[in-house]
């Protein structure tokens, strides 16, 4: 029996204003209202949606404590009757001086979960580990859309991250992203867009889970974000895909019962042996420490 109801979700492929939290809160509130009018039950914003991505030393100026910051609290208060995922720079009183690239799952006026990005890309055009502290945990949580796992951008490309959420029973894996477009060939979008969809398709198939990928639009310092947000249903079925590069509001249905159906049709979850994976990983980690 599945006790969760189908809902409409909205992926907000926005172009936040770099370094301007106040303006971005306004943008979020506008989109929440728009999504509410379309009867969306979940609105997913991209990575660092409240701040913009290419922050560098601005990170410390835009960092906030989600429990206390009045702008964040205003946003949380406006989620009555729906859920939202927002990206921000977190600096909590429990961890003073440490800045995290974080995403919060907010539901019905309450912060349900905060995920701190674990894999901080730092090579080539990426320099996150220069400015952010590393998250250390993947923890699935219960949400109105069912058991959910949250990932931030590069987390999703390290495929162990999705596995942990899957092992914890997540039927919805949400990845918020600020993925720059790289590589132009003869296609209609950047070549790197394929990489995200490939992972989305594979994870949704083998984890028999929804994959919601919210990327951003716009450009910063000459880098154009590729857009192309998407939703895959369990079993690798593409439900919807947003425009490349341009801002978009992608609305589609999410039916938690589809997870149960897929897990009856494909028995990967039933036959999964996390204890075998755990024992093997433990041995590998121990060996690498010797």
């Amino acid at each position: 029996m599945c006790y969760l109801f189908p809902m409409k979700i909205a992926v907000a492929q926005i172009a936040p204003k770099l370094g301007d939290v106040e303006a971005n809160v306004g943008l979020h509130l506008d989109i929440l209202e728009k999504a509410r009018k379309q009867r969306a039950g979940l609105v997913v914003f991209p990575e660092l949606s409240l701040t913009g991505y290419t922050l560098k030393d601005l990170a410390e100026e835009v960092a906030l404590d989600p429990a206390a910051d009045p702008r964040f609290r205003r946003l949380v208060a406006r989620t009555k009757g729906l859920s939202a995922v927002v990206g921000f720079v977190e600096e909590s009183p429990s961890d003073p001086g440490l800045l995290y690239n974080a995403a919060a799952f907010i539901a019905d006026g309450r912060i349900v979960h905060i995920h701190r990005k674990v894999f901080l890309p730092t090579a080539g055009i990426f320099e996150e580990a220069k400015f952010f502290a590393q998250g250390r945990d993947f923890r699935a949580f219960d949400a109105p859309c069912g058991r959910t796992g949250l990932l931030v951008c590069r987390d999703f490309l390290q495929f162990g991250s999705s596995y942990v959420h899957y092992a914890a029973g997540a039927g919805v894996i949400i990845c918020v992203s600020a993925a720059p477009g790289r590589g132009v060939g003869d296609g209609d979008t950047f070549e790197t867009a394929r990489m995200w969809e490939l992972m989305g398709e594979a994870v949704s198939f083998f984890a028999t889970a929804y994959v919601v990928y919210a990327n951003r639009a716009g450009s910063e310092d000459g880098v154009t974000f590729a857009g192309g947000s998407f939703v895959y249903a369990p079993g690798g079925r593409l439900v919807a895909r947003a425009a490349a590069v341009d801002p978009d509001l992608l609305c589609c249905a999410l039916d938690p019962a589809a997870v149960a159906r897929a897990r009856k049709a494909w028995l990967f979850k039933r036959d999964e042996k996390p204890e075998a994976v755990w024992r093997s990983l433990e041995r590998i980690v121990r060996a690498s420490e010797d």
């Binding site: 172009a15 290419t54 030393d57 601005l58 477009g181 060939g185 003869d186 450009s219 154009t224």
Partner: protein, 272 residues
């Protein structure tokens, strides 16, 4: 060779880039030097699409009557794109300077001309409250085939990640006239000068070597094994290595615990 591009998609990305950058500065007007050549024609067409033709000013800055054909092509292009254009002859100010420096070779004279054009562009940038659009392509930037603080000076550069051969593809898509697309590329520093004559290789060969080196991360040996003459590969490698200073800001001697250019790091696009 560099990959074939989908010019419609590249146009969309570059138009968005120009719009975003101008919007951030609260600036609606753009200007650029129009040489009558391919790169400035493509940049003008992108700017006209991004900002609207009325908001774009093309400055045609010939040295006397050295290149009448190029001036004609530049004027015709501005008319075709419906952008504003002004022609300013730089010969008087250049000649005045070199009148007392007769020993200056054509390299010095060429660089001086490029910097005079830059100074005129930036003066007009203040007059127009507009931003200067750069027209250097990736091939030029990698080879260092440009005058530092001359034609390389700009507020934003929409074309710096397109190889010359890709600029040609984009030009055809944007409807740049064949007269401009087919002429031999030249920096226009002295009569008879051509890029390919200067550098000593055809753009197709240069771009193939550069793309194997940059995107392909190939070694000298691998690029030669792919079929290029070792002299050609060495020439390109030498130019790339020796021109690094043109692609970076000058180093600042570090003294304090937090210094400009080292660890005082803010995005260019910080909200202004």
């Amino acid at each position: 060779m560099p990959p074939k591009i989908n010019p419609a998609f590249v146009e969309k990305v570059l138009v968005r880039f120009i719009r975003d950058e101008f919007a951030r500065c609260g600036c609606g007007r753009g200007l650029l030097g129009l040489s009558g050549g391919l790169d400035s024609a493509v940049c003008a067409a992108l700017a006209a699409r991004a900002l609207g033709p009325d908001a774009v000013l093309g400055l045609i800055m010939p040295y006397g009557r050295a290149f009448p054909g190029d001036v004609r092509d530049a004027v015709a292009l501005a008319r075709r794109l419906d952008i504003r254009a002004e022609t300013i002859d730089i010969a008087p100010q250049v000649d005045l300077y070199f009148a007392s420096r007769p020993e200056a070779d054509r390299g010095r004279r060429g660089n001086k001309m490029a910097r005079e054009r830059m100074a005129i562009l930036y003066d007009h940038s203040a007059r127009e409250a507009g931003l200067v659009l750069g027209t250097s392509n990736k091939t030029e930037l990698l080879l260092g085939y440009g005058t530092i603080y001359g034609d390389m000076a700009c507020a934003i550069n929409p074309m710096g990640d397109l190889y010359k051969t890709q600029v040609r593809e984009l030009a055809a898509h944007l409807g740049i006239p064949a007269a401009i697309r087919r002429k031999a590329p030249t920096a226009g520093l002295w009569p008879g000068q051509t890029d390919e004559g200067d550098i000593g290789l055809a753009y197709e060969e240069i771009d193939d070597i550069l793309c194997r080196l940059v995107e392909g991360r190939g070694s000298r040996r691998e690029i030669i094994e792919a079929g290029h003459a070792s002299a050609a590969v060495d020439l390109v490698l030498r130019r790339v290595r020796s021109s690094q200073f043109k692609r970076a800001l000058p180093p600042i001697a570090k003294l304090s615990t937090r210094s400009v250019g080292h660890d005082f790091l803010y995005p260019y696009d910080r909200e202004r």
